[in-house]
Symmetry: C2
Subunit: 409 residues, 2 copies
């Protein structure tokens, strides 16, 4: 599938996501792995040990009160910012994480870890099953957003962080932030859920299911027991393509591609030969599909999308009951053109939190780049997050001062 | 793939599309096939002969002035209304075509033919190539909406219809109607394009390309040279699933499915065993994918979606130039919740037609069922179309009377 990579010139199309040539203020950043003993999933599966891949940036304060956990979305990983020594690629959120940026590494200690069930260094379906010596495949237990967060909490223990200043993330990352606020009310000061929801709608589930069906219909999938040299790459590429369409907006696709045709010489995909007209947007999708295949595990795609679909913050319980212990202060962000996680879902979240007496600030940004808006360079978004963290951190510090003074008196 | 058909009970989910148990006022209706000699496509391919499958309902008037051509969308066929003697299924537009209905078969002579490139009786990639004795497969020439309409015009010649009273259709059917108005200005009195556009946007192309990639990535596709017993059915099913998600609205999916789970016993799809929660919307998509596979040809899906994507009513020419000869009177209809062919595209069409001095009535219906709105039972839509045809036919008749009187004087 690699031949079409030539067909797409990322620069030509002004991809708003971070590209290869991007320069990072952080220079080279490293990803570490920790092995944590014993972990039980919500479904009751017992891991003897769990590996978690993670990155830290900045310095933990003496008071250990400045830790921000960045939670990644479906296709993210621990490499959140700076340049990877392995492939020279910048981290997926370098636009917003770094010195003086929205998440200011001069001020905060930033942690990002690959989720449980992932395929970028953390335990997932591609990990060797100690009982068989082969990858778990579909013998891996179903994982939930709550499981991912429980694993992160274990990582915080390991790093000696008793309480997060904040958890922040977009899409699936936002769900993780919400679970932190609900499941660990005493371990988080504030929470920034971005372009997310309390539970997937039928349409969100449907799009994920199309992707899953593309994977499991690929004969190479073999009930998940594929070998490294014959993975269901075609299916995974199609899954990524349908995902990508939903991440963009009508506007961004019109602006990027419109009905422009791809240069003949660059359009090489198999069936291209049969149809004379080949659009740039088709080439773009092929590129996105093909490049994803090189870095993602098809089974992880199944497990993580299922975690997304089964996530339900309230789980059929009364909001007042679920949220009664919540102490975090919230900054909820949505994007007007995001039709995959529409602002209505964020407003629903805000309403639910407020009814349970949580302190919530809500910002709906009028950006035109769809669900991808949280991944791209976006000064208004950056400024808003920066200001929220700034004022919340002052607040936390002044509280601390008061408490210390009170204790001294 | 048939085992999951059990998993989905159409009645349970109140499918708004016409189901098996539906009763038709027309009783059994038949589909015919005509062989037309010599046909040249826009791309220059010469067919020695062309087969077209078609259905007619009602009676052609003595003046031959009451013919309405119904044009079908991507997955439609010639069987527009009444019950098929083959499979007892009602036609795809039985809600709107019949005695006293929107398209009144007591008054009008209704024709519907399967498009060129289709797979339901008309010449398409599944037809035997006389040069090889095997199906054309990808040796079939690319077809355009204009080719489809040119073939329909030949069918009108065959049926002895010098001029259509109207062409009507939704989605791809609307495009065909527009081509009739532009390419055959003297052969059509009025045109009803529904939920359609003058040219696909990047997003519309992108969704189609995901479907095409699902098909061509299926190893059974074999560059289109598959055999009947090993067609790329998995790929076609995935293509249909992604299509189906785009045909529905957020509202209709929430109303139909929400986050309801499928009954355990009915959920049998392979990877179901690995994840305990299986949603009704997933089962619905599987059902749609599986049932489509039984009635559609994967190569036809490629050809027809490409015809949709490459359609451009204006073809980079000035609207005034393209539309100067147009005489048809238009009734343009869109649906507020249709996000695949959004009302903005219909408004653009209306604006363009009006600027070229065409007579246009526009109706945007506030239905909540997405792009599917034109296929479902919809009294407001039905009434509007009925009234338009009623008043236009009176107008045509009174004109005819005046002309006849003038000639007598």
């Amino acid at each position: 599938m690699s031949e079409t990579q030539k067909g797409f010139e990322q620069g030509d199309l002004q991809d708003q996501r971070i590209g290869k040539d991007y320069k990072s203020d952080l220079g080279v950043t490293h990803t570490h792995t920790v092995t944590l003993p014993g972990f039980r999933t919500q479904s009751g599966f017992e891991f003897d040990e769990l590996e978690l891949s993670y990155q830290t940036l900045g310095t933990l304060s003496h008071e250990r009160d400045n830790a921000i956990l960045v939670c990644h979305a479906l296709s993210g990983d621990a490499h959140v910012a700076g340049i990877s020594p392995k492939n020279r690629r910048p981290g997926w959120w370098d636009y917003h994480v770094g010195p003086g940026k929205a998440i200011d590494t001069d001020k905060f200690f930033v942690i990002c870890s690959n989720v449980l069930g992932g395929c970028s260094g953390s335990t997932g379906p591609g990990t060797l099953n100690p009982r068989t010596g082969k990858p778990y495949g579909m013998a891996f237990p179903p994982v939930t957003i709550r499981d991912m967060v429980a694993a992160q909490a274990r990582l915080m223990d390991h790093l000696g962080i008793p309480r997060l200043f904040a958890a922040i993330g977009g899409s699936m990352g936002g769900m993780q932030g919400l679970v932190w606020a609900v499941d660990y009310p005493n371990r988080i000061h504030c929470c920034v859920p971005i372009a997310t929801c309390m539970a997937h709608s039928a349409m969100q589930i449907a799009f994920n299911e199309v992707g899953r069906q593309a994977i499991v219909s690929d004969p190479n999938w073999k009930n998940g027991a594929y070998e490294a040299r014959s993975r269901p790459e075609h299916g995974l590429a199609v899954a990524r393509m349908v995902g990508h369409v939903t991440y963009l907006s009508e506007f961004s696709m019109r602006e990027k591609f419109g009905r422009a045709l791809q240069d003949e010489a660059k359009a090489k995909r198999t069936y291209r030969a049969f149809f004379p007209e080949f659009f740039k947007v088709e080439s773009y999708l092929h590129y996105q599909g093909d490049s994803f295949v090189g870095r993602f595990d098809p089974n992880s795609y199944l497990y993580i999308t299922k975690a997304l679909d089964t996530f339900d913050l309230l789980d059929n319980r009364l909001p007042a009951e679920v949220l009664k212990a919540v102490k975090a202060r919230f900054f909820v962000v949505s994007f007007e053109s995001d039709w995959l996680y529409p602002p209505a879902q964020s407003r629903e979240l805000v309403k639910t939190l407020k009814r349970s007496n949580a302190v919530v600030t809500y910002l709906n940004l009028d950006t035109r780049y769809g669900h991808d808006s949280f991944l791209i360079d976006n000064p208004a978004f950056s400024r808003a997050v920066h200001n929220f963290f700034d004022s919340e951190y002052r607040r936390l510090r002044s509280q601390l001062k008061k408490t210390t003074q009170a204790l001294r008196l």
